[in-house]
Amino acid sequence: MQTGELLNNYNVEPNVWDEMYAALSVRPQYQGVVEFLQQMSIEELNKKEELAKRLFMSQGITFTVYSSGEGIEKIFPFDIIPRIITAAEWTYIESGIKQRLKALNLFLKDVYNNQFILKDGIVPVEMIYSSPHFLREMHGFPVPHDIYVHIAGIDLIRDHDGTFYVLEDNLRTPSGVSYMLENREITKRIFPDIIPRSNVRTVMEYPVILHRNLVSLSPRQTANPTVVLLTPGIYNSAYFEHTTLARLMGVELVEGRDLVVDNHRVYMKTTAGLQQVDVIYRRVDDDFLDPLDFQPDSMLGVAGIMSAYRKGNVAIVNAVGNGVADDKAIYAFVPAMIRYYLNEEPILKNVPTYQLGRPEEREHVFGNMSRMVIKKTNESGGYGMLMGHTASDEEIDRYKHEILRDPRQYIAQPIISLSTSPCYMNGRLKPRRIDLRPYALCGPDGIQIVPGGLTRVALREGSLVVNSSQGGGSKDTWVLAG
């Protein structure tokens, strides 16, 4: 088959924004890629797909699934067709995320200190105190440079008219950035020359900026502070990402058992004795960070690390207790925060969100279940979700019952259709739903967003859920220079 046909057979769904096609013609930003695809035969494309798989496998860009005592290596599915974002779109996204993060950071500082926003009644007090991620341990202590969110992943989606919406803020330990970096490397291999020709901005700066920010947070005035990346260990599904980032930044990758706290200082156990640690980029959740303060049976953390943190002897990135700001119930208040702290109108839109804790909103949602998605406020990764349009009556009834037991645990949003992007599947181009997670880095010098991000794609036909745990894959994401 010829690739010309490949493009002719691409059928855009009605009432959905397609990233490549608009009114039966290819959008200008996709022109270069389309021309490139047209020069190739299906056999060549299949070969490219094979090559991508092999590269992921041989470089160990995998996660391990353990079953019956044996580890099986899996790759995170990768679609070879890049997702392209224009310079104008990017400027808009960038300014929107910066504004949002500025407000969220101020919010975290506020709720853990003076709580003006609660006193002024902008965010209800019970919202904060009922959040399992609000940690009293963080109250009234100054974090370095007043930065709580050093690394953020903001999930964006596009509705049928192309408007960007923020779906979720990830302010704890957002993952996936290694795929942003690796997907680009793979694309360079499978589509030679096309990246420089297309004027694509580089994402290579990410580890450099992150490292610079981490070093600048060191509480000790020393020329060469010790920065470490704390991982839960090789059984963690994001372990590949932890090693990649440690390698790209040239910092030590440590596990909880490598660290010890003595006299409110954190040390790592080395072959030459103990060495003091200044900055910890942790990829361990709050709950497991310190068995003395949180989960007492956690083996992943370090006993006493919170005391060292509170004494200001070590910087922890991201700050502890950030979960209170990316809670799905707090999400609804972010536009209000932006107005309250910054006196600005929000640039990026929120998806309308119903608090099921409020009886009148709950009634509305219960009456329109088929057009709603219900989410648990403290779950992530696509777990604890109900998509109203595909759920059976039975499921809906069960969910209603669950919700009534503890309504604060749930929110509802109207189903947003999500834009589609072409995916190469079994010799054909097919539209699949996508989202976008750009990664923002906040340091003492301000917020920087590397031009790119992770485009996640729901590989199952008709699916609106892009999470990798729910059968999602990813694409290389190109941001074009002006």
Partner: protein
């Protein structure tokens, strides 16, 4: 360097060295099983490299293909090449930021190759030497990549400490078991027997160049224990062990370093000031066993003073 990292590098290296040893041993023994020596048996190999009991290894002793499968791809055998490479890779995986990307890819490719179903199948129906050669080449690629890409820091020192400790023990083991099969009779003039032993540790050509008088068990002992130039001799391994241990000397761990340095130095002198005659007078088995015991003690001391992190 983190203790845990040093530990993982050390074990990654020991496992890779063991892999190389096993594969070469299998390759040459398979060749020898195809030769017309009357009493070829896989028993010595099984005794060195597996934990099979007497009965089980006797039943396997004449079945080349079954032994190859058991030693290379059997999941139940903790010492199969598959399991050892898996462990080497697991260790490497946890220290990826301390080995180069090239080394990691080498190990990762090796792992994926040996896990492929075709290896098992080919060992059974095709020419097993070709399959073993593919695997041996993966190991060589690892050694070469290590040499060319790795920085000569502390990590590299621990990698070599692991490698030469493993090699020293392995050579002593191989020699001991091969001789025990002959009831330590040094007067045996079985040319093929010695030839295959030397071939299995890549020492045949050196032997021919060094000793012009044909095969003599005494010379075999001389080369495998005392040669300074033979890279698989016990002395060479201990010399290298000492050399790389020198490099991890630091102010932070002076006492421990001195203690272990003393232990290695003692083994080195003990071998250096031996002759074939003195070894045989003492008894080959007690001598080799003594060296092995002391090398194990070095391993235990390293674990205690350098790798302990729990």
């Amino acid at each position: 360097m983190l203790s845990r990292v040093a530990d993982s590098l050390y074990w990654m290296s020991r496992y890779m060295e063991r892999t190389d040893g096993i594969l070469r041993m299998l390759r040459i023994n398979y060749a020898s099983s195809q030769d017309d020596i009357q009493e070829f048996s896989w028993k010595p190999v099984l005794r060195i490299f597996s934990y099979l009991d007497e009965e089980k290894s006797t039943s396997l002793a004449q079945q080349s293909r079954a032994v190859l499968q058991y030693m290379v791809t059997e999941k139940e055998n903790v010492n199969s090449v598959l399991n050892i490479v898996t462990r080497a890779r697991e260790n490497a995986r946890s220290v990826q930021d301390h080995i180069t990307k090239e080394v990691w890819q080498c190990l990762n490719d090796f792992y994926h190759t040996i896990r492929d179903e075709s290896v098992n199948r080919n060992l059974y129906i095709e020419d097993p030497v070709s399959t073993l050669d593919v695997l041996i080449r993966h190991g060589l690629l690892y050694y070469g990549t290590m040499d060319i890409t790795m920085a000569r820091g502390e990590g590299y020192a621990f990698i070599n400490i692991g490698k030469y400790l493993e090699r020293g023990v392995q050579s002593a083991d191989i020699l001991d078991i091969k001789f025990s099969d002959l009831q330590y009779d040094v007067e045996r003039m079985d040319t093929t027997y010695w030839k295959y032993l030397l071939l299995s540790i890549s020492g045949y050509e050196l032997y021919l160049k060094t000793y012009r008088t044909g095969f003599d068990a005494r010379n075999v002992v001389g080369q495998i224990v005392l040669s300074e130039d033979f890279p698989r001799s016990v002395l060479y391994s201990v010399n290298q062990l000492r050399r790389y241990f020198e490099r991890v000397k630091s102010d932070g761990n002076k006492e421990a370093w001195k203690k272990i340095e003393f232990m290695i130095g003692r083994i080195q002198s003990r071998i250096e000031y031996s002759t074939v005659e003195s070894i045989l007078r003492q008894g080959l088995h007690p001598y080799l066993n003594g060296v092995k015991e002391e090398l194990y003690e070095v391993g235990i001391a390293l674990n205690h003073h350098y790798f302990a992190y729990s």
